[in-house]
Structure formats: C-alpha cells, structure tokens
C-alpha cells in the first residue's frame, strides 16, 4: 500500500481566502493510500520545505502531493525539497488549488469541493508515479546570436569574452542595428556612433565571433545544448577578401533606390553600403533593383572595381551549424501611420517621424547634420513634436506605451535648440514618462533651459497651408484649443516588433504576445529566458525598451547562455517517451509523428517456441525526445509511453477526477 503525504498550502490568504483548508486536510486523509495530510501557511517557504523533508523521513512517505499553486511555478521547488529527503523528485505531484481554484471560484463550498477533487486527482497521479532519472546530454559549446543591433553585439561580445565561439547572424548588410541610425543618445547626449562603432569593431575583430551579415536563419532543429541551424548566407556579389571599401562602385552605379537606412529621405545605389562606418565595410548588390539582374544590362560596378572584387555569379550559401544556446535580439520597427489620416503623414515632406528627424540631424545623414526642411531645404523655426502617435491607443494603434518616445523627443528639442537658437519646439503630450536614471532631470533641462513648450493634449489635425503646416491641438491644462503654424511636424510613432517576428517565433517555437513581441518565460522572475529551453531574448524584440535596458538584457542573456555552454553535459528532462519492446509491433507509425526525429528502427531477437526470431521494434533516443507524447497516441498497442505523463498516470487521474 502506498504511503502518500499530502501537504496543503494556505499561500497566505490566496488559497485560504476561499478554500476551507481544514476540510481539505480532513478529506485528504480519507483518500486511500494517503498516510499523512498536513497544512502550512507557506509551503514554498524555507519552513514549508523543511516540513516536507522532515515529514517524508518521519512518516516514511514514498509519494508526495503538494496542493498549492501552479506546478509551472513551484514544481521544481517541491521536487528539490523531496530530493533533500532522499525521495526521487518525480514522485512528487502538485494539485493546482490556487490559479485553477481559489483565485477563480468565489463560493467557499464549491471551491473547497473542487480543491478536494484536485487533491484526489494528484494523489491518483502520484500513486502511479515511478522513479525517473535524468540523463546526461553532450553540449555543443557554441552560441548563435540572431540580430546584429547593440543587444546582439553586446551578447556576442560577452559570450566571446568568456571564451566560447559565437556566430552573429544579421539580416542587413552591416551590424549596428537601429542605434547606428541615431545621432545622439539620451540622457547623456553621447554621439551614438561614437559609443557604438568601437563595439562594432570589437565584434568584427574578436577571434571568437564569426560575423554573418546579409544572412538569415532558415531552419532550426534540435533542443537545448544541441541546436542544428541552417543559415542562408545571401550572395553579396562582392568578394569580401578583395574589396578595399574604396566606394568607386557605388559612385558609378546608375540605378537609385530609397535608402532604408535613411528612412527613405534620400536614395542609395543598387550596390551600396548602408553607412560609412558599416562593419563589414563591404557593399552588397540589391538584386531587385540592380540593372544587371533586372534587365541583363550594365555591370558598371564590375568594370570600375580595381580590386576586381565584384562577382556577379556569386550564389547564396546554405550553412548548417550546431549550437548549445541561442540569443534572439532582432530589434524593432516603427509603426506604419496609414491609419492616422489626421496627421497627413506621407502627404507632406515636412511631416516626418522621429527616426527621420534623427537622420536629418545626423552628421552622416542625408543633410550632413544640418537640420533642414525636406520641402525647401530651409532651416525650420517652429517645430511641433507630437507624442503617443499610435501608442497608448487601443482603437487604431497599440495599447501599450512605447516607453522611449518622451525621452528622445526631449533630446530632439535640445538638439533643435543647439542647431538653431532662434527656433521654438512645441511638444504635444499626454504624460511625460521619465522613469530612468537622470531622465527627469534631462526633461526639465529641455523645458527650463531650451524653452521647449510642453502642451498637455493631443493634436487634432495637421494640414498644409501655404508653405507652413497648420497644427490644431489643445492644451487641456489651460482648457484652450491651440493652433500653431509649424515649419516641421515630428511624429513620435509607436515601437512595434519586426514584420518577420512571427516567422522567427515559429522557427524557434517562441511564444509571442498579441502584438508579436516575443514572450519571456516569466515577466518578473525570468525576463530573458523563454519557454524554449536554451533560447534567450535581448532588446526590443521582447518589448519596447531603451538602449541601457537592451544592453543589460543582452548581458543577462549572455550569462544564461554561458550557464549552458560552460557545462560539458546537461541533465536531460527524464519525462520523455519509452518503448515496451514486448508490445511493439514494429509498425513504426511513431517515427512519422515525432517532431524531433527521436525514434529509430531497431531489430531485436526473440525466442518464440524455442526458435530465435528477428523482429523490428521502435527505439527512442531519450536525449533527443522532448516528451510531447504524439507517438504514444499514434501507438495502437500502447507500447509507447511517456514517463512523467504515463498512460497509467493519466488514466488514474481521469478515474479520480470523475469520482
């Protein structure tokens, strides 16, 4: 007969608030196989865990059930507690009487009855649990960093400095990401390129870092410690070794295209380098717009290149590489403003987004750093900044706050004043959010020393009038409607994930929220981990954030990755599939349904009526299997079972839950 111990947690008032703990303890004692039932205010506390350990020893318990919060929260905690008493951790089962019971059912009588039923179900599962043991899996001690922005670069540098090899894969022709587009950074007004380019150079010259720019990840297989990734290294049509970066080719190239790096404010050539400090400083040919690839005419770049580096026959390369950990740092995009007709964005050159403003004031930007009105190349005098364009807007935009716009707009007012002391900045805002270090002080400087007028209210409409832009807004504090004749209107558009975020999420089985930001394992306690073991997040791809946070997350992810790479082997999760060879008929249907190709064919010999007969059966590679259980349902004779969620356990749970 089993000797099961049931431990019921009050969880302060979270459970005890609506569940009659005494009654549950009383009822638990009546369940067959239960030798001990007790309760404590905080089972997950030090005292609670010691109580479990001591009771296991005193009562000679062989199974443990803890009725408390969700197993997703504290199953590891209680399994460790049992292990400290010498009990195999997989003999511990939890009953979720908090998230699935006390918190969602207000009537005490109903909540208590359900709690007892959930305890009975957990006891049934515990009574059918068997000892399970982890296995050691070899670790590929290399890391992959996806995305070459500041977050990706920082993560790669941290991992490489710790002595492990890193492949940094970047989709665009150069690393640097969004930060490379910025002129200054808040709150210190550091020149963005000055603090970024050294890191870019470190990354490109670091012996442990391999740069894969103009490359994308096509396929990811495997699991923590053993990822197999296929990388498509797109053809640059320029030989990286021979190219000296002299720039003759993009001088002479005849076809012009809107430059993505300059947000379309100016044009680039079909063969181009996004910006002068690009790393690697090797141009790429944009196949869609190159006359040779489109109309089989031209090849000017090839003729003018003295280093004979242009190679128009280059092919994409598909590389297959193995990694132990992956850091995702794919960054963000700016929200498209088609839905916001009232701003007339796109209908007048002087109505621009903050990122375009950043390019206009940037020395390597389209106007060489001189802030000029795109319409008439004149210096602007009245500049209106509109905040929360598409942010905090649940009807046409994104419900969340994009976090960094208040600060970069304050920075823009300072930059504007610096360039044109006679100019005037008007900022329409709902709330100014300055939650970081020196942020509030920086904002006050913008208001007090740079004469920026902050108008508390949204802009109703912006429309061209003559060569000015008439802005109609409101100052809700004074209760006055406001009209401003502006030379330039800068829209602080919302921050959104990259358009290909859903594909990347599918590639790495990452969860995403309703807006396609990647979902972290736990918002408070595991902000850089994900539910895919071995895959970590850094930067704006996980949610709106500024550079310091992105860099901090990058180092956080790097340390998590190093937690894996620093080990020779990893302990595998023992809850994986297992074949009972006496039942297996060898139909091998399980091989077809296994997403991880963890099952293979094996020939065994059996004595049948004294004669040795050879037979084919399935065999599970426990290191590769992730325990999803698809094979166990495809297996008609019931030969395939999943340890930890076995047929016996689930049947016992179904029987108990229906009592």
């Amino acid at each position: 007969m089993r000797r099961i111990g049931v431990f019921i947690c009050w969880c302060g008032a979270n459970i005890a608030g609506t569940v009659d703990i005494e009654k549950v303890v009383e009822e638990s004692k009546k369940i067959p196989g239960v030798a001990y039932a007790g309760e404590y205010r905080y089972m997950c506390s030090e005292i609670g865990q010691d109580m479990i350990r001591d009771t296991i020893i005193e009562q000679n318990l062989d199974r443990v059930v803890v009725a408390a919060c969700s197993p997703r929260m504290h199953e590891p905690t209680f399994r460790r507690a049992a292990e400290s008493a010498g009990l195999n951790p997989y003999l511990v089962q939890m009953a979720n009487i908090r998230e699935h019971c006390s918190w969602v059912h207000k009537d005490e009588e109903e909540a208590t009855r359900k709690a007892v039923a959930l305890v009975r179900t957990a006891v049934a599962k515990a009574s059918r649990s068997v000892e399970l043991f982890s296995q050691e899996i070899p670790v590929e001690r290399r890391a992959l960093v996806l995305g070459g922005g500041i977050a990706g670069i920082q993560a790669a540098l941290d991992i490489a400095d710790a002595g492990y090899e890193v492949d940094l894969v970047e989709k665009s022709p150069t690393i640097g990401g969004r930060m490379a587009q910025l002129d200054k950074t808040f709150p210190t007004l550091d020149c963005s390129a000055c603090i970024l380019t050294p890191k870019m150079v470190d990354a490109s010259s670091h012996p442990n870092i391999n740069l894969f720019t103009w490359s994308e990840v096509e396929q990811v297989e495997g699991y923590v410690g053993n990822f197999t990734v296929t990388i498509r290294k797109k053809a640059r049509f320029v030989d990286e070794e021979k190219c000296t970066g002299c720039g003759d080719c993009f001088e002479k190239c005849p076809s012009k295209v809107d430059s993505e790096f300059d947000e379309g404010l100016v044009q680039r050539k079909a063969i181009y380098v996004p910006f002068p400090q690009a790393v690697p400083n090797v141009p790429v040919i944009d196949k869609e717009n190159c006359r040779w690839f489109v109309k089989e005419k031209c090849r000017v770049c090839e003729k003018v290149c003295e280093a004979e580096a242009v190679d128009l026959e280059q092919e994409d390369e598909l590389l297959e590489k193995r990694y132990g950990a992956v850091v995702v740092a794919t960054g963000f995009d700016v929200l498209g403003l088609e839905e916001f007709g009232e701003f007339n964005y796109g209908k007048h050159p002087d109505i621009i987004t903050s990122l375009e403003f950043e390019r206009l004031v940037n020395a390597s930007g389209p106007t060489g750093g001189k802030l000029l009105r795109p319409s008439n190349q004149e210096p602007p005098r009245n500049v209106v900044f509109v905040q929360c364009v598409g942010s905090r807007d649940k009807s046409r935009g994104k419900p969340y706050c994009s976090k960094i716009c208040c600060m970069y707009t304050a920075k823009h007012t300072v930059l504007l004043k610096e360039k044109y002391p006679q100019s005037q900045a008007y900022v329409f805002y709902i709330d100014v959010r300055t939650g970081g270090k020196d942020f509030e002080e920086f904002h006050r400087r913008a208001v007090e020393e740079n004469d920026a007028i902050y108008l508390r209210g949204q802009v109703g409409k912006v429309f061209p009038e003559g060569d000015k832009l008439l802005v109609e807004g409101v100052d809700s504090l004074s209760g006055k409607t406001v009209q401003i004749e502006a030379d330039m209107v800068v829209l602080a558009a919302a921050m959104v994930p990259r358009t290909d975020a859903p594909e990347i999420a599918r590639l790495l089985t990452l969860g995403t929220d309703a807006h396609s930001f990647f979902t972290e394992a736990h918002p408070k306690l595991r902000p850089v981990e994900t539910h895919s073991a071995g895959v970590f997040l850094a930067g704006a791809c996980q949610g709106p954030k500024d550079i310091p946070e992105a860099v901090a997350q990058a180092s956080g992810s790097a340390s998590k990755a190093l937690g894996i790479l620093s080990k020779e082997t990893l302990l595998s999760d023992p809850c994986v599939s297992k074949v009972d060879e006496s039942l297996c008929t060898g139909c091998l249907m399980c091989i077809d349904v296994c997403p991880y190709h963890a099952i293979t064919e094996k020939t065994i010999e059996e004595k049948v009526h004294g004669e040795v007969v050879k037979r084919v059966v399935a065999e599970v590679n426990e290191a590769v299997c992730q325990g999803c259980g698809a094979c166990s349902v495809a297996c008609r004779p019931g030969a395939m079972n999943v340890k930890g969620f076995s047929n016996e356990q689930i049947l016992a749970e179904v029987d108990a839950v229906c009592l």
């Binding site: 969700s70 197993p71 997703r72 929260m73 979720n96 908090r98 998230e99 699935h100 019971c101 918190w103 969602v104 059912h105 207000k106 009537d107 109903e110 909540a111 009855r113 359900k114 039923a117 959930l118 179900t121 999420a505 599918r506 089985t509 969860g511 995403t512 929220d513 309703a514 979902t519 539910h531 895919s532 809850c575 349904v593 997403p595 991880y596 992730q626 325990g627 999803c628 259980g629 698809a630 166990s632 349902v633 495809a634 999943v642 969620f645 047929n647 689930i650 049947l651 749970e653 179904v654 029987d655 839950v657 229906c658 009592l659």
Partner: protein, 145 residues
C-alpha cells in the same frame, strides 16, 4: 434523486485536458488576473494536446464526465512544433465519430488557447457548462459503476 430533480440542480462535470505550455498557462493567467468562472471543469495537465488519446476521452465519458474539453496551443505555436497539427486531425475525426455514435458534439470541445489568453480560458470555462447543462447529464457512454 428523481431524474427531473437531478435535472434541475444538475451541475455538469467537465474533464479538461490542458496542454502545459499554452492552455494550462492561460488558465494560470486567468487565475493571476483573478477572473472568475464556474467550477465545473477540472484540469488534467498534459505535455501537449497531441498527448490526449481518444482512449482518455472515452474513459472520461465512461467514468461519468458530462463533457470533455481538450485545450492546446494555436496551430503554428505548438511548443513541440507539430503536436497540435496531429491533434487537430485526430480530434476532428473523433468529434464527428462520437456524433455518429449519438453523443452530442457539444459534449466534446477542442479550443486553442494561448498562454496570454486568460480571458478566453475563462470564457470557455463559463460557456461549456452552460451548453452541457442544457443537454443534461451524460448517460450514453457512462459505465455501470
């Protein structure tokens, strides 16, 4: 208890198989957000919706469940990549076959609930008992016990 009276205050029992990565986490989120829903459903945690075998579903009906719910990740978001694709085919065929056997399809539901859809979890947990209360207790596949 006479059938009529039992019909009157009949509280349907629903067995809910929830996948650990999405729908079970959605249930946790409904809890942490303090949403409230009727207590008819009792959740059994499984690694993936593809772990739920028709045997378990029939076993639940046999032991007296009035309704069975299988909840998993949205197709394409499965933590095990293809798990819910197989489950979608398998359980669609089963749902129609149970209908052919005379079991009302409303008694067996499948919903895709992601970890961030606490509201949808609470909604399913509220609507399903209503539908089944209208159908009355399940006597069809119930064993003699």
């Amino acid at each position: 208890m006479s059938v009529a009276r039992e019909e009157h205050n009949f509280e349907p029992l629903i067995v809910a198989f929830c996948c650990n990565w999405c729908s079970y986490a959605g249930g946790d989120l409904a809890g942490t957000s303090r949403m409230s829903y009727p207590p008819n459903a009792r959740v059994i945690r499984v690694p993936c919706s593809s772990r739920v075998s028709p045997n378990f579903i029939l076993r639940a009906f046999q032991r007296g469940a009035d309704g069975v719910l299988v909840a998993g990740c949205h197709p394409g978001d499965c933590h095990y990549i293809t798990g819910n694709y197989h489950a979608r085919r398998r359980l669609s065929i089963l749902r129609r076959f149970l209908g052919f056997m005379g079991v009302e399809p409303e008694r067996f539901e499948v919903h895709w609930i992601s970890a961030s859809e606490g509201g949808k979890f609470a909604e399913v947990m509220t609507e399903m008992p209503e539908k089944i209360r209208a159908l009355g207790p399940n006597r069809k596949l119930r064993d003699a016990r």
